[in-house]
């Protein structure tokens, strides 16, 4: 991007870099918010059909202009700030949330074109995701409202306890592809005519499911939407926000979901790869990869909407229990099994016995099927064993008493 500016306009380096990054940023902001608008429309139509009704179909063709109508409505609404609220914190909360969300778009590879190729892409994504929680806490504390305070506290508790499984779930993929840069991870999945996606390996599939569940919590989707649980604490941390600031919160929320769908697609479902992308090559191939990329992302979002239409919300303590007692053990076991997968399929000098038993490690185009078979068997056995053991543990655990007895209440436990 920078070189093209230099040659075509003969601009000096600094001007080219400014122009290139300026173009990228505007592309991301415009793409992100348009994506957010499309997602809100897409979600409301999908949920409507699930509930035997039609959803927005009045504003514009098939209701496509509905999000724009909503945007105008929220912009024109009066923007109030509670009386004794901490004004600066109250004002900055949506800004921090939106900033964190937009930053995550920096490393998302749209099909083959990618804004910036950080060598530590995945780590950057999760690190910036953490900032998102800060915005929630600021909103909760800054609006001087009991419901908002509760919502903020719940939000922090949920985000902190779900970031660990989310990060750990990606480690097996980083282990298998050897790098953390998104670009290389996407390229590594272009074998077998574009279908060598990580999700088709048992370790990858397991990691995909765990990552998706953990990122449901990050994006505050049902069954993990307790920070903004409207039936209990009115609107959670967003209670005291109206007009423009509420719209920014909404924008941040849906852009996080969009970012999560894009990241999951590029890491697990092979980003822009698909049958026919390498054969076409050049501009046409890039365009086709972009289409594949969007189809996969929307399919993932459809699953999010399906879950939202069916499943009730978890309570705060159940949510914590689920993260620490269910997701974390499975994720750790998955890392173990991914290490075994890499060792079985690739080692030859490091462990002579593997080569004696299974033969030399195969290359990309001539894989050694014995090694693959053994690796699959070992990893599936470990993962499923852990799953059944953890589920047994959880099933028994749910019988213990739910209710704080009067003595506990008196003690104020």
């Amino acid at each position: 991007m920078v070189e093209t500016f230099q040659q075509t306009f003969g601009a000096p380096l600094w001007l080219a870099v400014v122009l290139a990054s300026g173009l990228k940023v505007t592309l991301i902001l415009v793409g992100g918010s348009l994506g957010m608008m499309f997602l809100t429309w897409y979600e409301r139509r999908a949920i409507a059909y699930m509930q035997d009704r039609r959803g927005p179909n009045r504003v514009g063709p098939q209701g496509l202009l509905q999000p724009i109508a909503e945007a105008i409505k929220t912009m024109t609404k009066e923007d109030t700030t509670p009386l004794e609220a901490d004004r600066i914190v109250h004002f900055l909360a949506p800004v921090v949330m939106l900033a964190a969300t937009v930053l995550t778009f920096a490393i998302i590879p749209w099909g083959n074109l990618f804004p910036s190729d950080l060598s530590v892409g995945v780590l950057f994504f999760v690190a910036v995701g953490g900032l998102h929680t800060l915005g929630m806490l600021m909103a909760g504390w800054g609006s001087n409202n009991k419901f908002a305070l509760l919502g903020g506290m719940r939000g922090v508790a949920q985000m902190v306890s779900y970031e660990i499984p989310q990060v750990m779930a990606v480690i097996p993929i980083v282990l298998m592809t050897g790098t953390m840069s998104m670009q290389r991870i996407v390229e590594a999945q272009s074998g077998f005519g574009g279908l060598a996606w990580n999700v088709f390996t048992p370790v990858g599939l397991f990691a995909f499911v765990l990552f998706f569940i953990a990122s449901l919590a990050e994006g505050e989707r049902t069954p993990f939407d307790i920070p903004e649980a409207d039936s209990e604490i009115v609107a959670g941390y967003m209670t005291e926000y109206t007009g423009m600031k509420f719209a920014v919160f909404y924008l941040a929320n849906y852009m996080t979901n969009l970012a999560i769908c894009f990241i999951t697609t590029s890491i697990f479902l092979g980003g822009g790869n698909g049958p026919g992308v390498n054969e076409l090559g050049g501009f046409l191939g890039g365009f086709l990869s972009l289409i594949y990329f969007f189809i996969k992302a929307l399919f993932l979002f459809f699953i999010m909407v399906l879950i939202r239409a069916t499943v009730p919300r978890l309570r705060v303590d159940q949510l914590m229990g689920f993260a620490w007692k269910f997701l974390l053990p499975l994720v750790l076991v998955n890392i173990l099994s991914s290490a075994l997968w890499v060792s079985i399929t690739r080692w030859d000098q490091q462990a002579q016995i593997f080569t004696t038993w299974f033969g030399a490690p195969g290359t990309a185009d001539a894989p050694n099927f014995i090694r693959l078979g053994v690796a699959v068997a070992v990893t599936v056995a470990i993962n499923l064993g852990a799953l059944v053991m953890v589920m047994g543990l959880n099933n028994r655990a749910s019988q213990e008493h739910m209710r704080a007895t009067d003595e506990e209440l008196a003690l104020g436990l």
Binding site: T310, V311, P312, L314, R315, D317, S398, M402, R403, L409
Partner: protein, 370 residues
């Protein structure tokens, strides 16, 4: 030990999940609920004072506004108590029509009540909208026969305002063909969902003896294990001619109430089937023609007639002084008395559970505040 402070929160009267203008003053320690004080009166319309100023017939449309989900059942209960007071005899066909309307109203009430409870749990209104779809079909039938969807004003002293004709019967038959699919969909959707089990099992437990001493009635009492259903304990209208079972819970928690209400919808379906089979033989027209409706002057005396409404025992206590107006008109509202048990059920659970427990009792503020 870190000294923590209890937080007093006002939930209501304007809150997304209090089912109307109902306020709970909640003291919360962290997320655990320490104390809950219900506050009423926001929808008080001195209904009983109106009962004493209006004539008996003029009071009938006001009973629609008590439990505005089941105006048919309110009318039926009020008509029964005036008939008991004035000694009016109701023809058989009218009793069958009243039973048909009651059971249709029971199905629509349970469908929406469960939907709202699941909405409180966070299950984004899918179950509620399926329930509302069935409710719309039933309301169209009520509109066809009584003239209005929710404010039916359909019962008269000695029968019902209009007879049902074969168009109504064929349409209800069609509706009943669709109901089993709806029941199966509803049951399949959430009954075994792990998250619902986590949110509903062992929550808001009301043991059997406590339920009796709280004078709780209806599905909440039966979920606690007491098989007390007025249609079986003190049969009225023609309920003694139908075979239907009484679903009863074992633990008395939110999950049992959920299951009891679904089972009761299926039993209501069974009653409707039998009622339509026996309807042709029922004789006597839809109303007792000898009753002067608007200038009815029952003899001096008192009467208490009660009906099994989907929320519990709905009774009307009337004292007549021989004039055209009731001397004393009291409504025994099931939601009002079921609410006494709310504070005891919610103590010790989390704030989120309090919403679900309130939803599981299924209250309507029109009936609570009268």
């Amino acid at each position: 030990m870190l000294k923590t402070e209890e937080l007093r929160i006002n939930i209501g009267p304007q809150h997304p999940s209090t089912h109307g203008v109902f306020r709970m003053l909640v003291t919360v320690d962290g997320e655990t609920l320490v104390d809950l004080k219900p506050v009423f009166g926001y929808l008080h319309r001195n209904h009983e004072q109106l009962g004493e100023v209006n004539s008996y017939l003029q009071n009938m449309p006001f009973t629609d506004r008590l439990d505005y989900f089941n105006s048919m059942i309110n009318n039926h209960a009020y008509a029964r108590s005036v008939e008991m007071l004035a000694g009016i005899e109701v023809p058989e066909r009218a009793q069958y029509i009243r039973v048909i309307m009651d059971e249709l109203s029971r199905i629509l009430n349970h469908a929406t009540a469960l939907g709202f409870m699941l909405g409180d749990m966070g299950a984004w209104q899918t179950a509620l909208l399926w329930g509302l779809r069935e409710r719309e079909k039933i309301l169209d039938l009520f509109e066809y026969v009584s003239g209005a969807r929710m404010m039916c004003n359909y019962a008269r002293f000695g029968g019902v305002a209009r007879d049902i004709d074969d168009y109504f019967i064929t349409e209800t038959r069609k509706l009943m063909d669709g109901l089993p699919h709806y029941f199966d969909d509803f049951e399949g959707l959430l009954t075994n969902s792990e998250i619902l089990l986590a949110r509903a099992r062992n929550i808001g437990v009301l043991p059997k003896d406590l339920a009796l001493s709280y004078s709780v009635t209806g599905p909440v009492l039966r979920a606690s294990g007491v098989p007390y259903d007025i249609r079986r304990a003190e049969p009225y209208a023609v309920y003694d001619r139908f075979d239907f079972d009484i679903p009863v819970g074992t633990v008395g928690d939110v999950y049992d109430r959920f299951l009891v209400r679904i089972a009761e919808m299926r039993q209501a379906y069974r009653i409707l089937e039998q009622a339509f089979q026996q309807l042709p033989e029922a004789s006597g027209g839809h109303i007792n023609p000898k009753v002067k409706q608007q200038s009815l002057k029952p003899p001096i005396g008192e009467a208490y007639a009660r009906v099994e409404s989907p929320k519990g025992e709905l009774g009307f206590y009337l004292v007549s002084d021989g004039t055209g107006n009731a001397y004393r008109y009291k409504v025994r509202a099931p939601s009002f008395i079921n609410l006494t048990a709310l504070a005891d059920m919610c103590k010790g659970y989390k704030l989120a559970d309090a919403m679900v427990i309130l939803g599981s009792i299924d209250i309507v503020m029109g009936e609570v505040d009268r």
